[in-house]
């Protein structure tokens, strides 16, 4: 489970990136977070991964306070980033092997890696090819494979679908659904309204570091997400979603 309680981040230059953010991603749930650039989505992920310290509030992974026990908390989370180029001189299998070992998975064989790569939709002939010759979509699939191999209870995705072709995008969504079905908590920051609508259990909108809207998939079923996106991204005196509602 992923959870933030009154999470606030003010950078050294005074910019308030997160302002009392409170939400929870339950096991077996996909939570998609929308927001314009600079709304605080990536900051939230950076706080979950302890890349930056919070100004106040708490980020919890499986109930573990990330700021207090970062290494322990990180054992329970996988991360897929937007633009990871990986090690260009390594093959897909070599990249996967290295990151699996960092994740503590030491007994996996080449066969296991091949199975995961196949599962994320990478062509077989690319398994032993140098990653520097991969397209963005192929690299993204490899990034997802790294997260899949770690098999953590929680998954953080930072705009993972940007640059993916429709086919790759569809395959990617299937993997996320599989993850959810195995009980993982999935938090995805994205601008991809259409793909998010297909898989999200809940959707949140952030503006200026605050969660200004939170709805379930059911509530959004008959709504035009594009209109909603534009509506919530426009400048207006945003009212934060009450903590109780966000955690529900």
């Amino acid at each position: 489970m992923l959870e933030t309680i009154n999470l606030t981040k003010r950078y050294e230059d005074g910019e308030l990136a997160l302002d009392g953010l409170t939400f929870k991603v339950e096991p077996g749930e996909i939570f998609c977070m929308f927001g314009a650039n600079g709304a605080g989505k990536t900051t939230t992920i950076n706080l979950f991964l302890n890349f930056i310290p919070p100004t106040s509030g708490t980020a919890l992974i499986e109930g573990i306070d990330v700021a207090k026990e970062p290494l322990k908390a990180k054992r329970h989370v996988s991360f897929v980033s937007e633009n990871v180029t990986l090690y260009g001189n390594f093959s897909a299998i070599q990249n996967l092997d290295y990151f699996s070992k960092l994740a503590g998975k030491r007994n996996l064989t080449k066969k296991d890696y091949a199975a995961v790569l196949e599962r994320v939709g990478l062509q077989k002939e690319a398994f032993d090819r140098r990653v520097k010759n991969f397209s963005k979509g192929m690299r993204q699939k490899l990034g997802i494979a790294i997260a899949v191999v770690k098999d953590a209870a929680n998954v953080l995705l930072d705009e993972p679908t940007s640059g993916l072709d429709p086919q790759s995008g569809r395959e990617f969504l299937e993997i996320l659904v599989q993850m959810r079905d195995t009980g993982k908590s999935v938090f995805m920051s994205t601008h991809d309204i259409f793909r998010a609508k297909l898989i999200a259990d809940r959707i949140g909108f952030m503006r200026k570091g605050r969660l200004v809207m939170l709805k379930t998939a059911k509530e959004l079923a008959n709504e035009d997400l594009t209109d909603l996106y534009i509506q919530y991204m426009e400048e207006q005196p945003g009212q934060a979603v009450p903590p109780a509602a966000a955690s529900a």
């Binding site: 890349f51 322990k72 990871v84 180029t85 001189n89 390594f90 290295y98 990151f99 070992k101 953080l156």
Partner: protein, 468 residues
């Protein structure tokens, strides 16, 4: 986990084009430098042997002691076997010191003076390659060690796992250093093989110890730039910035500081030029020479009646006078020259020490001075050689003066044939390893301190590094 990080780092480096490029260039340059060093050493050894034989022949062919005293002997500096890896100042400074009764010995006939074109390009020895080329490779291997991973996104991905940052930087440092040493070690071993199998090159136990210490110094020097690269890489957020900063620091360390230190030392502790000292010596010599003729004439005038009474006794007395008088004059010249030289050397040494100490802020200077001292091709070695020649000069002049006095037959006007059997020989004891080591301790210490400072800087910076 540490092993995985090290393994990854090595694999990532050795599969990169920069590794292949470094390996090829290192192999070519190192083997070329050792080949050049070996060829030069063999040529110098041949020249040295020929110079000794020629000098002996030249002395033997002199008709009498007068002409022998005039031309004097030429003392040649033996070439150093470790000049094959660290040429030092061997090519720039003279290799021969003429010793005669008049002039003060100095080193002449340098390789550069006999063929100035060598001075245009300088020498391509192993120390030069390590100092200039390999230090740049160390930068090439590290400038993007941290910041490059940030740009690729792999740093975020790695640290999204329960990987302690200290272990990651340690793994990267160890793996990166091994990757840098790999293209260096293979050609170095091949180079050593060339040294071992080449005829005319014999390395004694002390030479091997010196060679190993020189190699240790090379590795420490490269480690300075390696840890500096890590440090700068962990302080910047773009690899292009990191590269530019490192290039700037490299130029300052390798090019600017050593040159500025010499200029600054010259300004802080000015010394008279060699010409001024020579002019003073020449003036004194002229003064002595003009007085010498008068002295001999006075003696002859004073003792003229004795020549009539007992010519044989007169000849003996005159020979004794000439011998004593000549010895007295040369002693005066030597004393004057020695005093001038002592003062000059003292001032020069103070200036040199200041220049050396100022330039030691740069690891390149520490490497240069340290490796030259260990190879016995540095300023110290030449100073010691010249000092030994200057110590030999009074011994030689005393001998030649005694021969001069005894060899003149005033009745017949004949002079005796020269015999060189009892001529004192110049002896030069090269510096002992323990003494060289003691002199290089500050250089080793400085390099070690720089490594520690830069690595700790890199370590601390990485613990706080913004990976976003």
């Amino acid at each position: 986990m540490l092993r995985d990080i090290i393994k990854k780092e090595i694999l990532d480096n050795i599969t990169s084009p920069k590794f292949v490029f470094t390996f090829l260039l290192c192999t070519i340059l190192i083997l070329l430098s050792i080949y050049t060093g070996v060829t030069n050493y063999r040529a110098e050894k041949k020249e040295y042997t020929a110079a000794l034989a020629l000098n002996k022949k030249n002395l033997e062919s002199q008709p009498n002691y007068q002409s022998l005293a005039g031309i004097g002997v030429k003392v040649s500096k033996p070439p150093q076997v470790l000049g094959t890896v660290v040429t030092g100042i061997e090519e720039a400074v003279g290799r021969v010191a003429p010793v005669n009764i008049a002039a003060d010995p100095n080193l002449i006939e340098s390789k550069y003076s006999s063929n100035p074109v060598f001075a245009v390009f300088g020498s391509l020895d192993l120390m030069f390659i390590v100092k200039i080329v390999l230090s740049l490779f160390a930068i090439l291997f590290t400038y993007d060690a941290i910041v490059g991973e940030k740009e690729k996104g792999t740093l975020k991905l790695a640290l999204s796992n329960d990987v302690p940052r200290d272990r990651l930087i340690l793994g990267k440092a160890i793996g990166g250093y091994i990757s840098l040493l790999l293209p260096l070690l293979i050609p170095l071993v091949l180079g050593l093989l060339i040294l071992v199998i080449t005829p005319d090159i014999s390395l004694g136990g002390q030479d091997w110890a010196r060679l190993l210490l020189i190699f240790l110094m090379f590795f420490l020097y490269l480690s300075v730039f390696f840890s500096l690269g890590l440090f700068v890489s962990a302080r910047t957020s773009r690899s292009s910035t990191s590269f530019l900063v490192l290039l700037f620091v490299w130029v300052v360390f390798v090019m600017v500081i050593p040159k500025v230190a010499v200029i600054a030392a010259g300004q802080i502790r000015p010394i008279p030029s060699v010409h001024e000292i020579t002019a003073k010596k020449d003036a004194f010599l002229q003064q002595i020479q003009s007085g010498a003729q008068k002295g001999v004439l006075d003696w002859i005038k004073k003792n003229a009646p004795d020549a009539q009474k007992d010519p044989k006794a007169y000849q003996g007395k005159f020979q004794q006078f000439i011998q004593d008088y000549q010895q007295d004059l040369t002693s005066k010249i030597d004393e004057n020259n020695a005093a001038l030289e002592r003062d000059y050397q003292q001032m020069k040494r103070a200036q040199q020490n200041l220049a050396v100490n100022l330039s030691r802020i740069s690891p390149a200077s520490a490497l240069t001075f340290g490796s030259m001292t260990l190879a016995r091709t540095g300023v110290d070695d030449f100073d010691r050689f010249l000092a030994s020649v200057r110590a030999y000069k009074p011994i030689y002049t005393k001998w030649v003066n005694s021969k001069l006095g005894q060899s003149i037959n005033f009745q017949t006007g004949e002079t005796a044939q020269i015999k060189l059997d009892d001529m004192p020989q110049h002896v030069y004891e090269p510096q002992w390893l323990s003494r060289s080591l003691a002199r290089t301790i500050p250089d080793f210490a400085l390099l070690a301190v720089m490594i520690i400072v830069f690595f700790v800087g890199a370590y601390v910076s990485f613990l706080r590094y913004d990976v976003r």
